[in-house]
């Protein structure tokens, strides 16, 4: 089981969380201006990297906040968590 660090609650068991996919995908400012290919790209295409991956998690059984996690997709090693601000996927520095 993964130990995931919630930015508010600290390290908790994976069973308390739900996964939200890749982080940092901004919704297009003007969806009407997109063609089908660009819209499909926004909806479906993900980077699917081998290695470091920034992804969204929700502390569903805890404080119910969304936050970001950087996880290695090969080793599952989690190198850190970060809060989101100014929209999902934006890094709060």
């Amino acid at each position: 089981m993964l130990l995931i660090e919630c930015p508010w609650c600290g390290e908790r068991a994976e069973t308390e969380f739900s996964y939200g996919g890749e982080a940092g995908i901004a919704r297009p400012a003007d969806p009407d201006a997109l063609g089908d290919a660009e819209w499909a790209d926004y909806l479906f295409n993900r980077s699917n990297p081998r290695g470091a991956h920034r992804e969204l998690w929700n502390h569903a059984q805890g404080c119910r906040r969304w936050f970001g996690v950087e996880r290695d997709t090969v080793t599952y090693r989690i190198s850190g968590s970060f809060r989101l601000s100014g929209g999902v996927g934006k890094r709060e520095d």
């Binding site: 508010w8 609650c9 908790r12 068991a13 069973t15 308390e16 059984q61 404080c63 119910r64 906040r65």
Partner: protein, 201 residues
Amino acid sequence: MSESLVRRHGLESLLAGMPGSPSADPGVSVTIRGDLGHINVRGNAEGTGFVKSVEQVLGQALPIRPNTVSAGQHQVFWLGPDEWLVATPSGVAAELAGRLKHASTGIHASVNDISGGQIALMLQGPKCRDLLARGCTLDLHPGVFAVGDCAQSGLAKANVVLALVDDKPTFMVVVRRSFSDYLYRWLAHAGSDDGVTFRDA
């Protein structure tokens, strides 16, 4: 329509079915606190005067540090960076919720009396931690989870708010009413070797 409303916690039939003579020295004794009211309070902890106006009504601090409880006239649990649970005797909950709502008028906040939707169980006795550990992934060692700490987690897969009230130890478990029957049965089964007993508040 002149029926009078009687407050019930819904576990009466399970309690009635308990064996006649509970052990004199139970490892865990569970007290069903159907007599508590629950108020969910949400608002922005930074700026806006929300914290100040809520604290004025409560007469005690709103815990800002994650996963802590402020104990006083009421018990106030941290649920999230903008969310708290106030537990207080059910007789005053509705009136307190009204005063909280009034105090947060004009502030981006919400106050909801959810007394009918939740129920609190108090677990006391030397085997409390052993019993909880069978269904919960939290580290409840006294050096990690201290008096005044609370956490939301899963207990036997049911969502609960868990708090350590004192170091007897007494744990408070707040669970959705719809899960209370299940959790009662789970506690009775998982705690059967510890001589778990149940009683009404």
